[in-house]
């Protein structure tokens, strides 16, 4: 089970990315738990400077970008 957190500050783009990650996980039947977070303290600890960011199992995989489906799939593998 992968722990996936999408970090954002509440802007539309960040919520859209969370929905997209949800969709990719569902379509590819990946065992993952996906959350959305606006915790700025956690972001600072992880070294995230720009949102939306995708964190998989505690590792920042993407930040400040809106990756496409195929890229998201790769990040989750």
């Amino acid at each position: 089970m992968k722990e996936v957190i999408v970090y954002g500050s509440g802007c539309p783009a960040c919520h859209k990315l969370k929905a997209l990650v949800d969709d990719v996980v569902k379509q590819n039947k990946i065992a993952a738990n996906i959350e959305y977070s606006s915790d700025f303290v956690e972001m600072a600890k992880l070294g995230i400077l720009s949102v939306p960011a995708i964190v998989v199992d505690g590792k920042v995989k993407s930040s400040g970008a809106f990756p496409g489906r195929d890229v998201i799939l790769k990040l989750l593998e």
Binding site: M43, G47, I48, S50
Partner: protein, 355 residues
């Protein structure tokens, strides 16, 4: 997906060294771009005159010709610059900017921060993590603010649209005065003991260098990144640009000369502050506002007033203030607002006085 395919088709069939693989095809595309770009006027005149049979001197003719000329011109300029800046941006990440600014002294730091604000990728929803990240790494508060003010206000899209629609002089004026506002406002904020007005929990965050994101990119990645940023930006702004140009074309052909002089002329002292205050609650990106600005100027609005209006619409936004409230106490947000508003008003007066 499609971006990747196109990239492969264009760039990856030219052998392996840097020159034949990347530089040569870019030069080739640039020549094609330039050839097309320098014949746009001929094309639009030909379309209106020979194909549509509309008299170029009539109202309809001048509006249609304006639209047919400006639309491809703006999109071609945008494509070129967004691509170029995309390549540049793959080198200048927010992380690098932070490393560069950490420990810089005031003044020099403010100048560099404002300059980096032009090209560092930034969207106002990243204002808070960026603010925390900068401050916790030892970037002075005033310097951070210079960056936060310049980043949304002075960007390549605004500059390209200004250049394409209103000429290089106004683009240069916007660039220089925008940078000045960001630098001076940052300096003023830095002098007002802002540390007291940052929320306490932010001060407790310590920067951990080990957590820093380091991305390795190949040329292939960079080109892909630049291409996808063109697609991304076009997808977001094409409609605003089209509406703006259509509005401009309509005004160009139909609204009488001097119409705007009454509202936004340079005679009345209150027009600049009024325009700036009107602009604060209005929120739009550069793509939406500049074609409107062009229309205002062509009908007699004073340059300084319009420039100030535009800066205040782009630089100050209510949503950004709400987000910043999470890390700043109201007083510092107030100082931030007031310094930027005063700076922008001064830019307006300066230009009305000069021109």
């Amino acid at each position: 997906m499609s971006a990747k395919k196109l990239c492969h088709a264009v760039f990856l069939r030219f052998g392996n060294n840097l020159f034949t693989r990347y530089i040569l095809p870019h030069l080739f595309l640039l020549v094609i771009w330039w050839t097309l770009y320098s014949h746009l006027r001929d094309g639009s005149v030909f379309l209106v005159d020979s194909l549509l049979h509309i008299d170029l001197d009539s109202r309809l003719g001048s509006a249609v010709e304006f639209f047919l000329y400006d639309t491809p011109k703006v999109f071609m300029l945008l494509g070129l610059v967004v691509y170029g800046v995309g390549l540049l941006r793959s080198f200048i990440t927010p992380e690098r900017t932070r490393r560069f600014l950490a420990g810089k002294r005031e003044f020099v730091g403010n100048i560099i921060a404002a300059l980096l604000g032009i090209i560092t990728p930034f969207c106002s929803c990243s204002a808070v993590p960026l603010f925390i990240g900068f401050v916790s790494a030892g970037v002075p508060l005033g310097v951070t603010f210079s960056f936060l003010i310049a980043a949304p206000m002075v960007n390549e899209i605004a500059l390209v649209l200004l250049y394409g629609l209103l000429g290089w002089k106004l683009a240069l004026a916007y660039l220089l005065t925008g940078l000045c506002v960001a630098i001076v406002a940052g300096l003023v904020i830095g002098r007002s003991r802002p540390e007291k007005y940052v929320e306490d929990w932010v001060k407790n965050i310590r920067f951990d260098a080990a957590s820093e994101q380091k991305a390795k990119s190949s040329w292939h990645d960079r080109i892909l990144f630049a291409y996808s940023s063109v697609v991304d930006i076009f997808r977001r702004i094409w409609l605003y640009v089209l509406i703006g140009i259509a509005l401009g074309a309509f005004i160009h052909g139909y609204v009488p000369q001097g119409f705007m002089a009454f509202v936004m002329g340079s005679d009345s002292w209150w027009s600049v502050p009024l325009a700036v205050l009107l602009g604060v609650p209005l929120y739009s990106n550069a793509a939406g506002i500049i074609p409107v600005v062009e229309a205002l100027i062509s009908k007699g609005a004073a340059i300084g007033t319009v420039l100030a209006f535009m800066m205040s619409v782009i630089a100050l936004s209510f949503p950004e203030m709400v987000i910043l409230r999470k890390v700043l106490k109201p007083r510092l947000i107030g100082i931030f607002l007031v310094t930027v508003v005063v700076g922008v008003v001064m830019v307006g007066y300066l230009f009305n006085w000069m021109i």
